[in-house]
């Protein structure tokens, strides 16, 4: 177990290092930089003035120098630098946005699981019934509907029909939990649909498989009540792949959140990332991408661990 953890940790660090180099190079290869944005429409600006600003922002030396400087500050000082645009420390910007995205994603997953698990189980248990077809159809529609379209429809619907809108300015959960909930429920709903559908389909598939396995049949033959068999044996085992999928969903949800955050005006991580890309705010793009990759890698490592715990057939030492 310890060796496993150490190996995973090393793998994680290696992945994050690779991500940091990749993103560092990628942002610098993008056409246009903050300088071109700053000076756009300023026909009087000279090249000397532009170079001066470049120097002020620390994007004047060689890539190697820039990378080591940037990575060194993160490693030794925990300092992600300042935003080119706002001059604010990146840790401050991310600190402000991360809990918004986290709340959105957690709520999204909760909504998804709340609907997906019953739907998936019913669909599997009553295979080929009307309920099964209904659930499968719902699932297929769920993975087919574009999240941004759903969000738009939700806004049109609530504002035009009920003349009601969720609060537009972010209210933290500690200030006013109800207001906070009304603010997050629609965005969370629109990003949860895809996950809901995926998890439901996955659960249905694995449930069907597990229900056919010998030990479940044996348990059933031994007279163990149907409900107990379903929950204790079938569902527990069927949830294993579901956990894996839910891990991957975190990645999808972060991306989906970017779009939905923009539509619902929630200044989360994805919202900042999109903005930073359009403004070529290198340190902010880099830090945000690293953060997302780190969360993604950690969640998936945890998933592997949980996976091992849930399924004794798999040794985490593999």
């Amino acid at each position: 177990m310890t060796t496993f953890l150490i190996r995973r940790l090393i793998a994680m660090i290696a992945t994050l290092f690779a991500v940091s180099v990749t993103i560092f190079l990628m942002v610098r290869l993008m056409t246009g930089d903050i300088i071109s944005i700053i000076f756009f429409g300023d026909e009087a600006a000279t090249d000397e003035q532009k170079d001066l600003v470049r120097k002020q922002l620390g994007i004047d030396g060689s890539y190697f120098h820039q990378y080591t400087h940037w990575a060194g500050r993160i490693l030794f000082h925990g300092d992600f630098g300042n935003s080119f645009q706002t001059g604010q420390p990146i840790s401050e910007i991310l600190g402000h946005s991360i809990h918004i995205t986290a709340e959105l994603i957690v709520l999204g997953i909760v909504i998804a699981l709340l609907f997906a698990i019953p739907l998936g189980v019913i669909s599997a248990v009553k295979r080929d019934s009307a309920a099964d077809y209904g659930a499968r159809l719902t699932g297929l529609i769920g993975i087919s509907i574009p999240g941004f379209w759903l969000a738009t429809l939700l806004i049109i619907f609530t504002s035009q029909v009920f003349n009601w809108l969720p609060p537009l300015l972010y209210v933290s959960i500690t200030t006013d939990p109800w207001k906070n909930f009304t603010q997050f429920v629609f965005p969370a709903l629109s990003i949860s649909v895809f996950t809901l559908a995926i998890v439901m389909r996955m659960l249905r598939a694995t449930m069907l498989e597990v229900l056919n396995l010998d030990y479940v049949r044996t348990a059933r033959a031994k007279g163990v009540p149907r409900r107990t068999v379903l929950i204790k044996h079938a569902l527990r085992n069927a949830l294993i792949p579901v956990v894996t999928v839910a891990g991957f969903e975190v990645g999808y949800l972060i991306a989906g959140a970017a779009v939905v955050e923009t539509i619902f005006n929630l200044p989360g991580v994805g919202f900042n990332l999109l903005h930073a890309i359009s403004q070529r705010d290198y340190p902010l793009i880099e830090a945000t991408t690293l953060l997302i990759a780190a969360v993604f890698v950690i969640v998936n490592t945890l998933v592997d661990l949980v996976y091992g715990l849930l399924d004794p057939r798999i040794s985490v030492a593999d």
Partner: protein
Amino acid sequence: MSTLTETWKAVPRRRFLVVPAKWRNPIGIAGAIIVAFVILTALIGNLIWTNDPNLSNADRLLGPSWAHPFGTDEIGRDSLARIIHGAQVSLQVGATATAIALVAGTVLGMLAGYYKGIVDQLVSRVIDLVFAFPGLVLAIVIAGLLGPTRRNAMIAIGIIITAPFARVVRAAVLEVMGFPFIESSRALGASDFRVIFRHVLPNITAPIIVLTSVYFSQAILSEATLSYLGLGIQPPEAAWGNMLATARQYVGTSIWMSIFPGAAIMIIVLGFNFLGDGLRDILDPRVGGVTDAVTKK
């Protein structure tokens, strides 16, 4: 990260390419019909509906009428003609991105699974790197890096769906490599090339076909999302994603502008998903199957 492989391995498997028990698969047939309809629309739609999608020759923001069944857009172009053009764009991006992933993913997965060792390590690490970025975030960054054009959207989407392709192919190849006939043909002195094309490839076609159908829908959805975010197909060219993005400005007055392109995206994605579901039932009948576990980014 090898969670997918593990999922895949953990579930007892049957052989691929079991002769289909029932080709009469209502969902699959419905999908095939929808896909056929969309392809037909893209191919000959502009011969039947001859309005120019780029010509601003009517009043702006007209509602649906006989002259303009889907209304006109913000500068008086015919929306139906633009939806038809959008079908061409979506299918082209979907097909090209999927083709990139199909070829690159199969080659990489095959190399990794067949040669194992250092090749496998190398390929797997690259796949891991791609997986370390959530799919759409990577697409956003790549599209941003290369510049927002149709070609670059295809490349960006192609790259992100190459990773899951490669991973599934690698896993499938590893499994096939365990079969006795591979050992025997190698023992008989068959070249790698021959083993791969005569023995390995035919045995992994089923999951590849299913994946192709499913990722086709994902590619189309990704293109729409990128275009919606302004990182894909750029106006004035018509694409469903950017039509929807523009339409958001007009939801208060011209709701139909948001309805038709959104519905078009949903219908085509639904068609491919139905088709993929049907194909999976037929080709990969292990309920759920390997392909479902990786129908994910």
